[in-house]
Amino acid sequence: MKSKQELEQSLKKLDESARKIIQTRGYTREVEKIKILEEMIKEQLRNEDSRSTASSSR
């Protein structure tokens, strides 16, 4: 498992990548995918609404 710091770095990199793509090619499907990954990292960092995480099931 990556550390919190590594996850934060990944989040930062993803954010920068998304921004660069938007600047050069506009809001593409690639950006949407990156945004999804960002959201999932945020969940792992627990700084998002916990409703978006899924509990363990039976």
């Binding site: 499907r29 990156i34 999932m40 509990s55 363990s56 099931s57 039976r58």
Partner: protein, 512 residues
């Protein structure tokens, strides 16, 4: 036709969509309905009916790929891209997102569909809903016209018109029917410890049941495999002479079978209470911690919801309780809960008692209003003032929805229901005043809007051309741009309803 329903939250959230999925199937009987949910919800397949195909968002493996040491996030990106490509091949006619988080909005933007409703991004810039009801999911109470619409109602309203109702939930491939007995089945734990029953509460309740209870011979605690140890700790040391206490670790389908064969279920706010709502077994829910009982309370007529009256309840869903002992749980008096359980299992109408009155707990009963809206009413009150205000707010919410939506339907029915009650003298004087005030302000509001837009939206008027003219000045709903058969059909339906009303003219004269 192919429809994709998306629900990317938890088990309980998927279960709250069941009635809406059923209505979708009724509305589009020929359509293939696919359901996209988190892979952690796979076990629901054996419970749900009416879904033709299940798709899974592999959240856990994607998160593992992101979180793996020495692994680039590109791996997760490629996994996601492959999955989205697969879904895109389905060529959906309609996508409905029942989820209210950004992740689902991005995902729904990526999946190809001819029409999309529910939260999604449009070209990455604007957050779109294309549906009034689903847009309400993401709003704070202060912003919402009503603020207390149950999610199950919202999901149903988003999918079709007409009276709301419960959906069926059937375990398809589980033949393990259990022998019915005077059993109290308890779901004491959830995925959020703030919502759980404490050991002291459980022990006190068991003592009461053992000493004073005459309705149960067995108390069964159900749970998932990872809850077994915690459940054992809850009942540790209890030795009852009159009741048998046991723990049953089971699947969701088995849990449903146990609930069905029990006399009553006591549950905290978790998925099994939603399963219980689809059975005949009466439910008593303990709403603790961040339980939002107005939006996610048990969807079963006559069910009882017990909550604390402490100021911090309900707390924020995502924050831990800063106190060593949760106030909402400390206030939970086992004697009062025991009395509610006893009254409920005997099928009596719930009454206040000294224990309930002095305990600091709030006891509310689930009902459905004339239009099928879920509501909570304090025990011993036919209809509280608060509830009446709420019903008016809901009627208004319907009207607001109509103003921004080309579909006519439930909004008219709901208003006519209130009007019928008003005209038939079923309302208290103060309620009549409120309803008159409401109608008065609505007329003014609609006239202002009409002037602004230069067209009719909704008016209460004596309209000679209206199909309702023969019953006098009535609710006349029209739009110059939308004189469709559907609208006319609704007007005729409304006419039929209003014909039942006596002295309508006189009452409406009073209003004006």
């Amino acid at each position: 036709m192919k429809i994709l329903a998306v629900q990317l939250l938890r088990l309980g959230d998927v279960l709250m969509c069941v009635p809406a999925l059923k209505r979708l199937k009724e509305q589009y009987p020929e359509a293939e309905i696919h359901l996209l949910m988190n892979d952690s919800c796979r076990k629901l397949e054996e419970l749900l009916e009416g879904v033709d195909e299940y798709l899974y968002f592999e959240r856990s493996s994607l998160q593992s790929a992101i979180g793996a040491a020495g692994q680039s996030v590109l791996l997760a990106h490629d996994m996601l891209a492959a999955r989205v490509r697969d879904w895109g091949r389905e060529d959906y006619d309609l996508l409905i997102n029942f989820t209210q988080n950004r992740l689902s909005a991005h995902l729904c933007s990526l999946i190809e569909a001819k029409r999309k409703v529910g939260m999604h991004y449009s070209q990455g810039l604007a957050l779109r809903f294309n549906n009034f009801w689903l847009s309400q999911l993401n709003r704070d109470e202060s912003e919402l016209a009503d603020g207390r619409l149950h999610y199950t109602d919202l999901f149903q309203l988003a999918t079709s018109t007409g009276r709301l109702g419960t959906g069926q939930l059937r375990a398809r491939n589980v033949g393990t029917s259990k022998e019915a007995c005077s059993r109290l089945v308890i779901q004491a734990l959830s995925s959020d410890t703030k919502k759980d029953m404490s050991a002291s509460f459980v022990q006190n309740l068991l003592l009461k049941l053992n000493r004073d209870g005459a309705n149960f011979t067995e108390v069964m605690f159900i749970g998932a495999p990872d809850e077994e140890e915690r459940l054992r700790k809850l009942i540790e040391g209890f030795d009852g002479q009159n009741i048998t206490v046991r723990i049953e670790i089971c699947s969701l389908a088995e849990a449903k079978a146990w609930i069905e064969s029990s006399a009553l279920m006591l549950s905290v706010d978790t998925s099994t209470k939603h399963i219980a709502a689809f059975t005949e077994t009466p439910v008593v829910e303990l709403a603790l911690g961040g339980s939002d009982r107005y939006r996610t309370g048990v969807y079963q007529e006559g069910a009882v919801i017990i909550s604390s009256q402490v100021d911090c309840f309900p707390c924020s869903h995502s924050q831990d309780c800063p106190l060593e002992q949760r106030l909402c749980e400390t206030e939970l008096d086992a004697q009062a809960v025991f009395e509610v359980i006893e009254q409920r299992v005997q099928g009596h109408e719930l009454k206040q008692s000294e224990a309930i009155d002095s305990s600091g707990i709030r006891v509310e009963v689930v009902g459905y209003d004339g239009f099928g809206f879920w509501y909570l009413n304090p025990v011993n009150k036919a209809r509280s003032e608060e509830l009446f205000r709420l019903q008016i707010a809901r009627a208004n919410c319907h009207i607001e929805a109509q103003a921004g939506n080309s579909r006519f339907g439930p909004q008219i029915g709901h208003l006519s229901f209130l009007m019928k009650e008003f005209c038939e003298g079923q309302l208290e004087d103060s309620q009549k005043r409120q309803f008159r005030d409401y109608l008065g302000s609505m007329i003014q509001q609609q006239r202002r809007r009409q002037e602004e837009l230069g067209r009719d939206l909704l008016a209460i008027d004596n309209h000679s051309q209206s199909p309702l003219a023969n019953v006098g000045p009535v609710v006349h709903i029209t739009s110059q741009r939308r004189q469709s058969f559907a609208v006319r059909g609704q007007l005729e339906k409304l006419n039929m309803e209003l014909k039942l009303v006596e002295n309508l003219d006189q009452h409406l004269m009073e209003i004006s």
